[in-house]
Subunit: 333 residues, 4 copies
């Protein structure tokens, strides 16, 4: 309450809190009175109280997420998909082209990344493109190719789902559904995917706080889908030399707040090929459970994001470096 709040104001606020189901504790300080409201009421909009007469500030003590919180679930969650696992001492690398372009392209790249140690094959079939005039992905045909490549090279697969109507197609063809950064708060999509029993790779939105990322995970989990892998992929800041600013510190922060595994995507996080390897190494050194990296055997001709794709030999060399860094911190690749 404000310094000048009257007893009447204080009582009015206390009564209103009680009406909302809170138990109220009044603490009288030197300059002001504090009302402590006890109760597990995550849905209350605290701004409702901020505008009452005499109120100085309302502060939420309990975080608004529960299923994704480490407080209520201290053990680390491990998401297992075929031979891949996210959340244990294994650092799992997802690799592949930005978009599936053709059988030849996908199989060539899949073979290379498999040999270098990647456990999961990525490849976009439905592409969220900033411009309506850009290549939008092969759709169903792309998913079929991805499935075939996964079987051929014994890799788990991941691809992005952009709308509810695509869910069935994705479920039939890939092992992990990706929800992209621009859809992190597409609540309709989160709700539908939350009804599945399939692992989900949930990317942090460019303007999303870590708390909002965990709230998005909460949407998935409150529907019953607990196999959520979080992914840091860069936030929007004033610095625009890089496409986004990969928030490496989100990795240790999220690991403390949540039991869900978290990986990093240095390809989208930087947008520039020669920054991918340093940032991949940084993410692993900071404790990431895995990485998602774009690789293309002929990036000059890639239909999307060629500029941020590694050549296969760069990817192999990076995997070697990552192996040593993983070992330095007690993990393995």
């Amino acid at each position: 309450m404000k310094e000048m709040a009257t007893e009447t104001m204080i009582s009015a606020v206390a009564e209103r809190l009680e009406r909302n189901g809170f138990q109220v504790h009044k603490v009288v300080g030197v300059n002001r009175t504090i009302l402590g409201a006890i109760g597990d009421k995550r849905t209350v909009d605290i701004r409702e109280f901020e505008i009452l007469d005499g109120v100085h500030e309302v502060i939420r003590i309990t975080e608004p997420y529960k299923l994704s919180s480490r407080t209520f679930h201290p053990e680390q969650t491990v998401v297992r998909v075929k031979e891949a696992s996210f959340g244990d001492e294994q650092i799992t690398v997802i690799a592949g082209p930005c978009s599936v372009e053709s059988e030849e392209q996908l199989f060539t790249i899949a073979k290379e990344v498999k040999n270098a140690g990647a456990k999961v094959l990525r490849g976009g079939a439905f592409k969220p493109r900033t411009s309506p005039y850009s290549f939008q992905g092969l759709g169903k045909e792309g998913l079929k190719l991805l499935k075939a490549a996964g079987e051929e090279f014994k890799m788990a697969t991941v691809s992005e789902v952009m709308e509810n109507a695509q869910i069935e197609l994705l479920v039939d063809n890939v092992d992990i559904l990706q929800i992209g950064a621009r859809n992190m708060q597409n609540f309709s999509l989160l709700r539908e995917v939350g009804k599945l029993k399939k692992p989900v790779l949930l990317k942090r939105g460019m303007a999303a706080t870590i708390e909002e990322l965990l709230m998005a995970a909460e949407y998935l989990m409150s529907g019953g889908n607990y196999q959520v892998i979080l992914c840091e992929r860069g936030i929007r800041t004033f610095e625009n030399y890089t496409r986004n600013t990969l928030d490496i510190s989100a990795i240790p922060v999220t690991k403390k707040l949540s039991h869900l595994p978290i990986i990093a995507d240095p390809s989208h996080g930087t947008g520039i090929r020669d920054k991918v390897a340093p940032m991949a190494r940084a993410a692993v050194a900071a404790g990431a459970d895995g990485l998602a990296i774009e690789v293309h055997h002929d990036p000059d001709r890639a239909l999307s994001d060629g500029a941020q794709s590694l050549y296969p030999n760069q990817f192999s060399r990076l995997m070697e470096e990552l192996r040593m860094i993983a070992w330095a911190i007690g993990k393995k690749i």
Copy 2:
């Protein structure tokens, strides 16, 4: 090109540009050579060239949007809906509750805002909520009530569409479809709504640049729907006293870059009731074509966003102030 770029490097880049359909002009400067690439190739990813040997930087001269650009369409677009118009000398105010809660609530508020001078009635039926545990809207029933209120008070209506499956319901019941900030880059939704012949209120995403807002409009327009009203509703910055930072300068900037009308939403832009009126006045003074304002007759009991809703008498007083400000800059309300 870099200072140390060799002739071979320069030729390689020039050839590659030509292969992409550009006409190339070579300008030899004191320290470096510049290659000017001429051609209307909006879909080229400029990063593809940034990574070539000897390249220092690639800069796009032409903006990537066309249909929404004032360059190609100098006359101001005016979107007309019933008695409301956006883009002419009239400043049009959209008002109403955050969520439709009941017939009594909606009709009470509609009557008040109509009397105060609002031309369009807003009311959410499908609500994008950060928490899965919050009130998610009345859905179809809410839209029916909104339609009835619009007819009763002779107001145009607007409500948010969150996914493709809701489009039909919205089209049948409201005059303007709103695409929310979190869906500004939900390209699946943009594509479907772009096929309609209904006015769209497109809100700027919290992390979206003005260019990205115009690219989202481009999605709608490239589908054939030209009745797009843009809406500034606050961007995410480091300052967190207000919920978002309402970017008032986006109003004159957008008016210069695009022929589309732009309004401001000071309710979501600030998130705090006593900041709504000053920011509404500021938006009008800066040249906005309209405003979207949340009003509730009993905000303490509102099911969502009560804290940022004006009381009807505050709204009336604000409309009086706005009338004088509009007059000061040669417009009217």
Copy 3:
């Protein structure tokens, strides 16, 4: 405290708080225990407690500034300088060139802005330039010219002080000392200027929160200088169409938190001439106590910031618009 905090942990934290002079109240909730620490200890670093065993989060209830807070000083401060006043119903406009360049330039501009209604003449003599190769100001000679122009046109004057060694020169020649955005947290400078009895125009840093702006004011005031005028001049955001994002909402927010007057600088806040007038109108409509606007009679030849300077006739026209907006909200220019 965390959910799993033991009684020992809770006691240890409580004891440590008491050792720091706080009175401790223990509130036992459903899931966790909250310790309320009562005491006016603004200098405690709350992070010291965050790292103790069992602590979930530490939240400061009292704002860390006192002299600049409206809580402890509810009456609005009015800073009066010659015929100008900041903080009452008068909206005071500061105008003039970015840099003092010559007697002819300064007197020409001073006459124009005086005629249009400006009460304070601005003109830089020491210029903070991003590049060491740019014009750095006329120094002492510039201040002498500013003083002469102020006397000739009966206007108060303001100019920037960049370091302690310049203070004496400024004090002798101008009426208001400006502390620039880049020096807002130059604590050495704040401390010295705080010892003066001269009005100070304190500009918000590009990355400074409103709280930090008020803490910088606190430095000045704790030294004994209470004549502080705050100035919003744009914050750094991801949007880079404008040079900075003028945070108009900072005006009503600061007016609520502090009793100090606040003005806006739309010239630096936008960096583009044709955005200055809309943003100046917006700032006044939002409740600013004044404006600082750059005006140049020949901006194409200005030695600095010509691109954001208004022509005298644009400035006169703007003053007319501002007069009507001021009147609309019960103020005057």
Copy 4:
């Protein structure tokens, strides 16, 4: 130029460019004409041209810094101070308390960090504190203690200089002068320190782009002081779980743009003890030339920043991990 720019407008701009000493090349494209201006004119304010009639956009091709640019100085700069070196295969760690508090404190910590492998001892004597009520440092006495500790443990030393009047004292007592983040654009200070022949540790401002950091280095170097060590210490973003967002990608970016060494400060970059080690590992993995880390033997009683200081045993363990990571990328500690 704009699509609708007339020949008269185009000629006027071309003439004006020539008047400014540029050589002009005219490129006529499909939709618009482009004027290429050739000439090494770093001081021109490009906005001057943006406001001319018919101009669409002005883009600077040459970076505005020269002495700090790798383009003009491809070989990596190595700054050597006693046994420490920054910029070669050695990763150099600066460690010590935030503030010098007493001889016992400083010597205890110095011994620990020396034993763990730190080569440079840090310790603040003049402290930039957000609050005027916080501990401001021991001043001269602190510097004397730092010098003595450096001699005792054969370590180079670094401490912050906050204003010109302190320079002499710093020069006499420490090996490296630090310019803090809040003073990165204190051009008066940069100019004076630029006249010295002492190594400088220049910290990136919280809202500074990488280009602005290099422009600040340019100030130092244009005065003749080439021994500049850059330091990434976190930028201000919307994410406020951490105190700042340590921009790890700034490390590879800066190494590409500039020949100057760059280190990272994970203590200030995160502000939370348990995030320091992961971010220190990440910085080294990303290619940093060194680190600056706060260590305190009794952080609970530290007079400043105790919450982000490592205990000596945490620091030793971290040094072990860093050694392995350095080895993994072909460097050493």
